[in-house]
């Protein structure tokens, strides 16, 4: 029923998740032609299934303790403090911290998103108008690194050597408001753009599938009432005004049972 296999296709499936298949697929035009020997197809299929199996193992065995892949210890403290203000919470009503948002952002920044792998990054660089969009030379990872250092330095200078994370919550909130409104500026560091990105990534981490490290125990989805990426609502779509009854599920199943439905 579906398209015949092609070598280019099988090859692209071998790439790590999240990598742009198009960039990395190096199969030449001849190999990409749909004509394909049976032997070659079987080889490619086997390789694919082995890789998928390995990915499954890795995800299931993910350790409970979190390893940093991008942030330094100081940066981690900043991110934990700031995201906890952007989406506050406690153990009964989880927010960004309880949902693992700092871990989500850490993983994003050490991956293709942090490196801006998909962005056009040729010069000349120029600020342009607001309508022309993001024109900063920094990748997301570079922007986080520069801005966190700059904001912590600002805090230490203003507040007797205290970093952002060491300030009382009300002061942390005020600094975020000032960044958002463009009232807090730092020479040569686009801290307002950083705030925009931080807010975006914090919400992503709260609401994306838990397999990316945030939305722990479906904290974000349970808050709003999203039951996860379920597949079939043929019957329920007509049950107007009725709450949906099945438990929340992610792309890797349910955390309590591992069940996939």
């Amino acid at each position: 029923m579906d398209t015949p296999p092609s070598f280019g296709h099988a090859f692209s499936a071998l790439l790590p998740a999240g990598q742009d298949r198009r960039q990395a697929s190096t199969a030449g035009p001849i190999l990409n032609e749909i004509a394909l020997s049976r032997r070659r197809f079987i080889t490619a299929s086997l390789a694919t299934s082995v890789l998928f199996a390995l990915q499954g193992c890795g995800a299931d065995a993910a350790p409970a303790t979190v390893t940093r892949t991008f942030f330094s210890a100081d940066e981690q403290r900043f991110i934990e403090a700031a995201t906890a203000r952007l989406i506050p919470g406690d153990s009964a009503d989880p927010g960004a911290l309880e949902a693992g948002v700092p871990h989500f952002i850490d993983l994003q920044l050490s991956g293709p998103f942090g490196r801006a792998d998909r962005w056009y990054r040729q010069g000349p660089w120029s600020q342009g108008t607001e309508q022309q969009g993001y024109q900063l030379e920094e990748t997301p990872a570079e922007l986080y690194r520069k801005a966190i250092a700059a904001i912590d330095a600002y805090c230490r200078e203003q507040y007797q050597g205290k970093s952002y994370a060491e300030l009382p919550e009300a002061q942390q909130d005020q600094i975020l408001h000032d960044l958002e409104d463009g009232k807090l500026t730092v020479k040569d560091v686009p801290v307002k753009a950083f705030f925009t990105l931080l807010l975006q990534n914090t919400q992503e981490g709260f609401l994306a599938d838990p397999m990316y490290g945030g939305n722990r125990d479906f904290a974000g989805w349970n808050l709003i009432g999203f039951p996860g990426p379920r597949y079939n609502y043929v019957k329920e779509v007509r049950q107007y005004g009725q709450p949906y009854s099945l438990p929340t599920v992610g792309l890797q199943g349910r955390r309590d049972t591992g069940a996939r439905t």
Partner: protein, 587 residues
């Protein structure tokens, strides 16, 4: 030095909707057809399986199925006195890359343009007088009429298994359908999708106001369906992951779910992925194409000879190729001469969010599950007192409830903090959005040309987009938004949030991937790149197919019309061009 490949009869640039349709048609004539696709190979299994495709972060937010600006982008400015800067990441629109093109990640909203739309200039001048069209507005007639295209709309809708209810069968108005649409030769292939809770609220409110709401046409199968090629589609499950995603259920029409299972079995068809076409190669007369040049992903260059070259890439990409190849005189907005890049247009959208008491369950949806009214589209109402041209539909779509991008918050909600969190908890399940989908006129100040500064990865100039909304369209959009607000209020919500579209146009927030023009069709070679059969006036063995052919943009999603044009052009090639290769229309 480019490696010369074995010649073929027909080379198609791109392998999305238009290429798939044309390949299917031309291979029936026994021609050797080759499609060159810049992106990756993609198939329902394994690429769109529901175990991983329903991933909002990867596909909707990070754009896993879209064109990556690192390889191909354009520069942008609002007006020609500004310096254009590159679109460094996608925003306002999201073209696809890979087999199936944007036909993989669309919603499936499958409309026909109105009969008057195809003769927009002559119709407006006849009804309102020639002075009604501002001097800088360059709208024009299409060179093809609705009646001529009707059989081809029909073919596309039956190919896709569109779910809907006819409002006009052979001139007879049908209850529950859209009474404003052009005459159809037959009913839709499938009945409408189930209604969502939001659809029913919209329907009731619109009827109370005296409008004629109808189920929007959907290329999401409401029932199992076997199309005329014998390809089987499955019933839509309302999973709410259409737009930005591939369909794992064979329910949303795409090249993969409607054509490729047949096309890919043919011995006289082949395709190559990872092939970036950069130029149509002309012979020394400049009036005949010899083939195309392309690069593979390792930067090796190839020449693919062909008797017939058909550009089937995304709208602006087709125009970029024409400009890089020297086909058609580039448009000059100062003298208003030239054709290639002329009449770029877009669409203008707005919305009114309504926060309601009822439980909505927004995540149970489908890309084209919606209820719409057409009272204010095209010339369905008297524009005389309004003083603007064009219009659009107003609809309540239930495309899904993906948490990151599809949550709605009441006006005045803070962007973060405990109040944001509380508002998320209170409103996600109890809000709907009414959207307006408006036309955009073509105008002298909106065009595509080559950027003088920025280059792509091959060192070729980027395409440069110069565009802002015309005052006509901003006023039209305000009018539509006001009507949408009226319907929202009639739903008696707790509160509403009116999101007007204001100028200047910005490349940043997503609006719509309905870019049009730049290689428009028409009857006059001074104002069109291709004739009414989508054949280049200057190079008769080059055809250009897609939304780039639209002389201006009208008030509906474009894919239905793009599909109809592909069948229309394929028919002209099969039944006219192949018998007598050469110009199908004498200039």
């Amino acid at each position: 030095m480019a490696t010369r490949m074995k010649p073929v009869d027909v080379v198609l640039v791109g392998f999305g909707w238009t290429a798939s349709i044309i390949a299917q048609e031309l291979t029936e004539e026994g021609l050797q057809v080759l499609a060159l696709e810049r992106g990756a190979d993609r198939a329902t299994v394994p690429d769109f399986a529901t175990t991983h495709i329903q991933d909002e972060l990867k596909y909707a937010v990070r754009g896993g199925l879209f064109q990556a600006p690192v390889r191909e982008t354009m520069s942008f400015r609002n007006t020609s006195d500004q310096v254009a800067l590159p679109m460094r990441r996608l925003g306002s629109f999201r073209p696809g890359a890979g087999v199936g093109g944007a036909g993989v990640h669309w919603n499936g909203q499958t409309w026909r343009f109105l009969p008057d739309d195809f003769v927009m200039r002559s119709h407006v001048e006849e009804r309102y007088g020639a002075g009604f069209v501002p001097e800088d507005v360059t709208i024009q007639d299409w060179g093809v009429t609705y009646d001529e295209l009707e059989p081809y709309y029909d073919r596309f809708e039956y190919l896709c298994g569109v779910s809907g209810k006819a409002g006009n069968l052979g001139g007879r108005t049908q209850a529950e359908g859209n009474p404003f649409e052009g005459a159809r030769s037959r009913e839709y292939p499938l009945p409408p999708l189930e209604r969502s809770a939001g659809s029913l609220m919209f329907d009731k409110a619109a009827r109370e106001l005296g409008y004629h709401p109808f189920a929007a046409p959907a290329a999401n199968a409401s029932r199992p369906y076997k199309n005329p090629l014998g390809v089987q589609m499955g019933q839509c499950t309302y999973c709410g992951f259409c737009e930005w995603f591939g369909c794992g259920n064979y329910s949303k029409a795409s090249p993969q779910t409607t054509i490729l299972p047949v096309l890919l079995k043919k011995d006289n068809f082949s395709y190559r992925t990872g092939c970036d076409v950069t130029q149509v190669v002309l012979d020394n007369t400049g009036r005949k194409a010899k083939g195309v040049l392309y690069y593979d992903l390792e930067g090796r260059e190839y020449e693919q000879p062909a008797q017939l070259v058909i550009l089937c890439a995304y709208a602006q990409h087709n125009v970029h190729l024409l400009l890089l190849s020297g086909i058609g005189q580039p448009y000059d907005p100062v003298s208003d001469t030239g054709v290639t890049g002329r009449n770029y247009a877009y669409q203008i959208t707005s919305s009114v969010d309504a926060f309601v008491d009822e439980l909505i369950n927004p995540y149970m949806g489908a890309g084209a599950l919606g209820q719409a009214i057409d009272e204010f589209n095209g010339d369905n109402f008297d524009h005389g007192p309004e003083g603007f041209m064009g219009g659009g539909y107003i609809a309540l779509w239930t495309t899904g409830g993906r948490p990151i991008l599809q949550h709605r918050l009441p006006k005045g909600t803070p962007q973060w903090g405990s109040k944001w969190k509380k508002a998320m908890a209170e409103n996600y399940l109890r809000s709907v959005s009414i959207s307006t989908h408006g036309s955009v006129v073509s105008q002298r100040g909106a065009y595509l040309d080559l950027d003088p500064t920025y280059k792509d990865i091959y060192g070729k100039p980027l395409l440069r987009l110069t565009f802002d909304f015309h005052d006509n369209d901003l006023r039209m959009s305000d009018f539509l938004t006001g009507k949408a607000e009226g319907i929202a209020k009639a739903m008696k919500p707790r509160s509403i949030n009116v999101k007007k579209r204001t100028g200047p146009y910005t490349i940043v927030p997503y609006q719509t991937t309905h870019n049009t023009g730049g290689a428009v069709m028409g009857d006059d070679p001074r104002t069109s790149v291709v004739n009414r059969y989508l054949q280049c006036w200057d190079v008769p063995n080059v055809f250009v197919v897609g939304a780039c052919n639209f002389p201006q943009n009208h008030g509906y999603n474009p894919t239905g019309t793009v599909g109809a044009l592909a069948f229309w052009a394929a028919d002209a090639i099969r039944h006219q061009y192949l018998k007598r290769p050469g110009p199908l229309v004498q200039a």
